[in-house]
Symmetry: C2
Subunit: 409 residues, 2 copies
């Protein structure tokens, strides 16, 4: 049961001029399930991507990097399959990823390097390429602009519901529309996650600015969430700018650039938080704000130590203000010269730890009250600088164990 | 239900001449439960300790470090309480840790700095010092040599059974006896764990050699296990050499030294594995051997990435050979120049991943067979050097969540 996550309303998901979506059922893992998504882009679109840092990155991730690196021909179509990650599959996995690009290029009258392939699902199993190839004609036939809801459904794995949102920005140059979809559930961790995210806009954004904005948005959103600390082999976050609206984003100093950047980050965070809200077995959304650090890196280390601690996460699941576990996580986060007597900790509005020890005015009943909420903020001040970092995570429940013990069966 | 962990047989636990044990029930957390242990050492004993690296280390850990650092008077008594960690308790926590040393010193005619205090239990709650002081006379009255089984019981927290073992070594200079006890269960992670470990021997070992051996034994045992990746505020591993036997260990090159070292490491590993076997909710003991690394450090990082992955741990719980999760963990362990095409992975005797991809001869039924066993070895070869590292861990079960969601209630 996701945490305060409403189903997207189909009417709220705005089509993006220049993007068409095609869905098919290839029966990759199970029959009668949408498992293929094509995203076709109009000529003139720019595309940028941020990918997993996992050394065992999947074959499609390697192919994506290659195809984005070539500058001869623009990217024109993305193909996504669920049910199989095509990771840990060696040379044969690379051949199959390329085969899907080859077949799609031929049917769409493109070159193979104009296709970006994406896969998500079980690792170490051969990609059933024949099933995928057989489904391509039907996916191509289905291509249409107004189908983002189905697109969000087509990329789900252990997600309990589709994740999608749109956002519109009025700029001096006109209206910009952004629509995004993502999938997550487990193996979610910065850099990045078993996570696929796609955002498209009708603004025109030049390649340099788009690459920079994609990385910035990823860092503040999909790279700021963690479910279980596992970094997947397949994470990909793609931003597409079709340029079909009148708005041109060409300079970092223009008000339009700033408005677009803010909107892109806002939508990315919204989508990333949806992943946490629907984290495997999640019953609570936890925001961890670490401030007072010497630099962002040490704040991030503290926030992640808390976010990854199974003891902290099970305490949140139980609504048990066993808050010493948070102090312990701060203590082992690797800041060797941390003066714990300067550390403050708040749970919601309750000041729990003062100057490194229990706040004499702290009442367990106050901690208990906050722990019972479904969205909880932990604030830490390290008392040694001005840097800060925010990370979102969820609790660790029985359901997490059930889901991951049963995932393949 | 611990994994293949027999109860220690009282008759197998050898007394160590020069060590007396005193147990009491102070009612620190619950009534009618052994929760105080005194370990009294004969004059002439040497003592060495390795402690948590957590910056929020508990008050007793700080006092232990101080008392071990002073060379004026030898350590003569250890006092251990369960039920409260006296961690995250600030200056008042320090005062209470010292108060227990003061009171015990007075009653035993020692100086306070001849006492080492240890606490384990809930963090961030005030130590009920009055209860501890009230129980001291009874603990002192109970002091006797032959009570290691009760001593092991007295330091348990969420452990389901006492952990203790003895070992005897025939050396050219005579018989050496070692007896050890430990407690673990959750918050177990290298450097070190919610872990207390005490080993005593009747050999005489000079202070320099004892310190060196204590660190070496800790690294290969208690610093090589992990339950949940959480590093506790209270971990302590203490080795005591009473010198009451005829055996003197004074040179690193003597056969006696080598025999003693081997025995100490063997006993430490045995005790450390008992902690994993009785890890919170554990149903399996997993040995992770990473070889072929450029150095020990990178092997350790890979082994820990696997050992800490909730996805890997839940797959072991489910006996599901979802082994791609292990490859993913190798990939995000932080070896930036890892050539995955040189990586081999074995599950027990089954060659699963060959040259970075699925071994063409691998049959899922073979993986399934190994996954059903209660003790499983994962072997990884990184194919880039000669270094290796072994880490022990357990699976992640429903029971882990239950225990940690209910720990305080």
């Amino acid at each position: 049961m996701p945490v305060n996550l409403a189903l997207p309303m189909k009417g709220d998901l705005k089509p993006i001029h220049g993007v068409r979506l095609g869905i098919a059922e290839a029966g990759i893992k199970r029959p009668n399930r949408k498992d293929i998504l094509l995203i076709e882009l109009a000529l003139g679109s720019t595309v940028s991507g941020v990918f997993t840092k996992n050394r065992f990155c999947a074959a499609p991730v390697q192919v994506c990097r290659e195809h984005l690196a070539q500058k001869n021909d623009p990217i024109r179509t993305l193909i996504v399959n669920t049910g199989n990650a095509n990771a840990g599959t060696g040379e044969e996995g690379m051949r199959r990823a390329r085969a899907s690009c080859d077949a799609l290029a031929q049917q769409m009258n493109l070159k193979p390097h104009q296709i970006l392939p994406f896969s998500t699902g079980v690792i170490l199993e051969p990609l059933p390429i024949d099933k995928i190839l057989a489904a391509l004609p039907s996916a191509i036939r289905n291509l249409k602009e107004d189908d983002w809801y189905s697109a969000a459904e087509a990329i789900m794995t252990t997600d309990t519901q589709p994740k999608a949102a749109s956002l519109q920005i009025n700029t001096p140059e006109g209206l910009i529309t952004l629509t995004g979809i993502c999938k997550g559930a487990g193996m979610i961790h910065p850099n990045m996650a078993t996570m696929l995210g796609f955002i498209a806009t009708d603004a025109a954004v030049n390649q340099t600015l788009l690459s920079q904005l994609t990385q910035e948005a990823a860092d503040l959103s999909f790279n700021s969430i963690t479910i279980d600390g596992d970094t997947s082999t397949n994470d990909s976050f793609i931003v597409i700018a079709t340029g079909q609206s009148s708005v041109r984003i060409e300079s970092q100093t223009s008000p339009t650039f700033l408005a677009f950047k803010e909107g892109l980050i806002q939508l990315s965070i919204l989508l990333a938080q949806m992943i946490v809200r629907d984290g495997e077995g999640a019953t609570k959304l936890i925001t961890i704000e670490v401030g007072g650090g010497k630099n962002t890196d040490e704040c991030e280390r503290v926030a992640k130590a808390i976010a990854h601690s199974p003891l902290v996460k099970t305490a949140f699941f139980a609504s048990d203000p066993n808050l010493g576990r948070i102090l312990a996580a701060i203590g082992y986060a690797g800041i060797d010269d941390l003066d714990v007597s300067r550390v403050q900790m708040y749970l919601g509005d309750v000041w729990v730890a003062k100057d490194g020890g229990r706040n004499p005015n702290y009442q367990e009943a106050d901690g208990q009250r906050v722990m019972k909420e479904s969205e909880i903020t932990v604030k830490i001040n390290l008392g040694r600088g001005d840097a800060s970092r925010t990370i979102w995570t969820c609790d660790l429940s029985h359901e997490y164990v059930s889901i991951n013990a049963d995932y393949r069966s």
